[in-house]
Symmetry: C3
Subunit: 343 residues, 3 copies
C-alpha cells in the first residue's frame, strides 16, 4: 500500500513524508524494518522512536516531538495500527467445504454439512465431525471420536478414540488429544504393569489448544477441559485432570494426574503441578513454579516449592542479604570473644 492510502484509511494527517512511499508491513518500533509502519501510543516508548527503522510512525494528534521518519497523526494510534495491520495482512485463509480425495474416511464415520477435510486425513469408524469444521492436512480422528461444529484442526493433529471436542475448538499442529495416561503398577521383579487407560478426554466449547500439546485420556471417566480454556504450545495435561472454564496455560506447563484446576486460573510458562492437588478459582501460578500442594482461590503463588508470591519474594530478598547477615554474625562473635563493647 502507498503511505497516502494508509493515511486515508485511518483518517490521519501526514507529516514529513511522501504519500507515494510503499509500505509493506507493520511492526513495533523496536522490530519494524524499512518499508514498515509502526506506532507510538505510550510515551514510555518515546525513546524508541529515534532508533526505529520504520519508514512511518503513527502518533497521537497532539504528540510533541521530533522524528527522522514520516509521522501520521491520528486520534488513536493503537487502533489505527491494528486497522492498518489487517489491511496489510495477506487475506485470511478460507477453507471451502469438501473432502480431499486422499482423505480416508471410514464409511461408518459421520461428516456433517460443509466440513472441510484436507489431504491425507483419516477419520475412523463411528467418528463424527460437526458442521463447518475444518481438518487440515494429515489429521487423525480416532474411532468414535466427536468433533463439534466450527472446529479447526491444523495439520497432524490426533484426536484419539472416543474423545469429544465441543464447538469452536481450535487445535494447532501436532497436538495429541487422548494419548494413554501414564499409569503402571509395580511388579515384584521391578518391572511395571500397564494400567489400562479406559477413559477419554472431553474438551468444552471455545477452547484453543497449542501446537504439540499432549492431553492424556483418563484412566476411567474423562480428562476434562472446560469451556473457553486457552492452552499454549507444548503443555502436558495428564490423565483425569479437570480444568475449569476460561483458565489459561502458558507454554510448557505440566499438570500431573487427577489435579483439579478451577475457573479463571492462570498458569505461567513451564509451571509444574503435582498430582491430586486443587487450584482454586482465579488463582495465579507464576512461571516455572513447582506446585506441590493445593492453592486457594485468587492466590498468587510462585517459586519452588510454590508459596504465596509475596512470601517467595520476601525469602528471595532475605537470601540475597544472607552474605551480609553472616558477616554481622561473625562481627558479633569476634566482639564477644574479645569481650569488647561498642561503647
Amino acid at each position: 500500500m502507498k503511505l497516502g492510502e494508509i493515511v486515508a484509511l485511518c483518517g490521519g494527517v501526514l507529516e514529513g513524508g511522501d504519500s507515494s512511499l510503499d509500505i509493506y508491513g507493520v511492526g513495533s518500533l523496536a522490530e519494524a524494518q524499512p518499508g514498515e509502519i509502526s506506532f507510538l501510543s505510550n510515551p514510555r516508548y518515546n525513546h524508541q522512536l529515534s532508533d526505529t527503522l520504520a519508514s512511518a510512525v503513527l502518533v497521537k494528534k497532539d504528540w510533541d516531538g521530533a522524528s527522522h521518519c514520516a509521522l501520521v497523526r491520528v486520534d488513536d494510534p493503537n487502533r489505527a495500527f491494528a486497522d492498518i495491520a489487517v489491511a496489510l495482512s495477506p487475506p485470511a485463509l478460507t477453507y471451502p467445504p469438501g473432502i480431499h480425495p486422499s482423505a480416508v474416511i471410514d464409511p461408518d464415520a459421520v461428516l456433517d454439512d460443509d466440513v472441510c477435510v484436507g489431504p491425507h486425513c483419516v477419520v475412523e469408524a463411528g467418528a463424527r465431525v460437526g458442521k463447518r469444521s475444518v481438518l487440515l492436512a494429515g489429521c487423525y480422528v480416532g474411532h468414535g471420536a466427536r468433533i463439534g461444529d466450527d472446529c479447526r484442526l491444523h495439520a497432524h493433529v490426533s484426536v484419539r478414540a472416543y474423545c469429544v471436542l465441543g464447538d469452536r475448538v481450535w487445535i494447532h499442529d501436532g497436538a495429541v488429544i487422548g494419548s494413554d495416561g501414564f499409569g503402571y503398577s509395580p511388579r515384584k521383579d521391578g518391572s511395571w504393569e500397564k494400567i489400562p487407560q479406559l477413559g477419554t478426554v472431553t474438551v468444552g466449547d471455545d477452547v484453543e489448544i497449542g501446537a504439540n500439546v499432549t492431553i492424556d485420556r483418563a484412566r476411567f471417566g474423562s480428562t476434562r477441559i472446560g469451556d473457553g480454556v486457552k492452552i499454549d504450545n507444548l503443555v502436558q495435561v495428564a490423565h483425569n485432570v479437570q480444568v475449569g472454564h476460561h483458565t489459561v496455560m502458558a507454554a510448557q506447563v505440566g499438570i500431573s494426574g487427577s489435579t483439579r484446576i478451577g475457573s479463571g486460573v492462570q498458569l505461567g510458562g513451564q509451571a509444574g503441578l503435582a498430582g491430586h492437588v486443587q487450584i482454586g478459582d482465579g488463582a495465579v501460578v507464576g512461571a516455572q513454579a513447582g506446585v506441590t500442594k493445593s492453592v486457594s482461590p485468587r492466590t498468587f503463588v510462585s517459586g519452588y516449592p510454590a508459596m504465596e508470591h509475596k512470601r517467595a519474594m520476601l525469602l528471595q530478598a532475605h537470601l540475597g542479604k544472607l552474605p551480609d547477615l553472616r558477616k554481622r554474625v561473625q562481627a558479633l562473635e569476634s566482639q564477644h570473644r574479645s569481650g569488647e563493647s561498642p561503647a
Copy 2:
C-alpha cells in the same frame, strides 16, 4: 448398562436405588457425573460421598453411613469398580492385519506376518516391521529401521533410519525416535559446524514412549533405552544417553547428552539432567529437580541444584525461618550496642 446388571456383575447388594437406572460410565467420587457409578473404599474419602454427583456408589459390605445416592454393597469396592469400568468401556480396539492401500511401502522393506499398516504410513527401503505390529495412520519408518514384534505405533510417529525397536514397544502419537543429536563445533567466526550424528537409537522390549517424546540418535554407537522403560509425554532424551531397565520418566523430563541412567530409576516431571552424569540404580529424582552431578544408587535427590532430598527440605525449612533469624541477629546487635544484659 442397567444398575441391576451392574449389581449382578459384581455380585453386590443394591440399597436405596432403582435397578432399572441407566449407568453410562464410571468416575471417582469427585469427578463422577449423574448417570455414573463411583466407589468408596478408603474411609479417608467418606466426606466426598455427600457431594458426589454419581448416581450409585460401590461401598464395602459393612460400610456404615448415610448416602443420598444408590449404594451397591460388595466385598471389594476397588476391584468391583475396575470390573465395571471395563464392562462399561467401549470395546478395546482391534487392528486387523493388512496394509492400507494408501501406505507407501518400499519394495525393499520387509513386513512380517500379520502386521497392520494404517493409511498414509511410509516404510522406507531396508526397514523391517515384526509380526503382528501395528502402525497407525501416518507413521514414518526410515531406511533400515527395525520394529520388533507386537509393537504399536500410534499416529504420526517417526522412527528414523537404522533405529531399532524391540518387541512389544508402544509409542504414542507424534513421538520422534532418532532425530539428530544436538552437536556442533564452534568456528572462529562465531558460527557453528554440525557434527554428523552417525549413530542410532536402540530401544529394548516392553518399552512405552509417550506422545511427542523426542529421542535423539547417537553421535556414534547408540542411544539406548533398556527393557521395560516407561517414558511419559514430551520427554527429551539427548544423544548417547543410556537408560537401564524398568526406569520411568514423568512428563517433560529432559536428559542431556551421554548421561547414563541406571535401572529402576524414577525421574519426576520436568526434571532436568546435565550431560555426562550418572544416575545410580534405583535412584529417585524429584519433579523439577536440576541434576548437575552424578547421583548414587537408591538416593532421592530434589531441588536446584539437586541434592539429597532430606537436605533440600532442611535448607528449605531454614530458608523459611531466615526472616526470623535476621531479627534475632538484629536483637543481638542492639543488645550488644546498648551493653544491655538480659538478666
Copy 3:
C-alpha cells in the same frame, strides 16, 4: 569390517588381537559393546579401559599400559576413531529429486529444480520450495510459505502460511513453524477474546531446528530467527521473539513473547525467558534458569530468578551453611543470656 581392514584404514599397528575379527560399530569406552571398537585419547579415561566391553581400542603410539582387548596404536586416536566411525556407518542417505505421486501439490505452488518431495506431503497454493530442498514424508507447507534452497524438512514438519525459511535450513520431525501466537484480551465475563495473529515467522540461513519444536507466528510483523541459529528439540519460541545470529538453544527452552535475544547467545536446557526482555550478545543462560529481566551482553546468568552466575553460586553456598549460621546465632544468644564470656 575386519579389524585388519580398520588397522589399514587408519595406518595403525595392531597389538594383541586377531586381524580377522569382525567389527560392527564404534562406541565410547563406557558404551561400546563386544564387536565394537573404541578409543582412548585422554589419559583421564585410562581407568575405563579395564572395564570396556569393546573388542578393540585405539590408543596413542606411545601409550603405555595393559589391556584385555586388542589395541590399535595410531598417531591420533580421536581422529582415527572419527574416520572409522564414518567408514562403519551406513552410507549417508540421499534424496533423489522427484515428487512422490501421493504428494498433494497445489497447481499454484512453485517447486524449484531438483526438489525432492516425499510421500503424503502437502504444498498449498502460492508456496515455493527452493532448489534441491528435500521434504520427507508428510510435511505440510502452507499457503504462500517460502522454503529456501537446500533445505531439509524431516517427516511431519509444518511450515504454516506465509512463513519464510532461508537456505540450508534443516528441520527435524514434527516441528511446527508459524502456529498462532498466544494472545487474548480479557472480556468482562471472564472469557478471553482471541487477538488475531497476523504476522509470520522468518527463519534465516543455515538454521537447524529440532524435533517437535514450536515457533509461533507474530501478532504483526515477524518472529525472527537469525542466520546460523541452532535450536534443540521441544523448544518453544513465542510470537514476535527476535533471535540474533548463531545463537544456540538447548532442549525444552521456552521464550515468551517479544523477547529479543542477541547474537552468539547460549540458552541452557529448560531455561525459561519472560516476555519483553532483552538478552545481550554473547550472554549465557544456565540450564533451568528463569530469566525475569534483561541480561547484559557476555554475562552468565543462572538460577531462579536468574542472576549473575557467580552470585547465584555464592548465595547457594551461603544457603548451604545456613543451618550452621543458625547454630552460631543460638550460641550467641545463649552466651548473651548467661552473661558468660568466652575467655
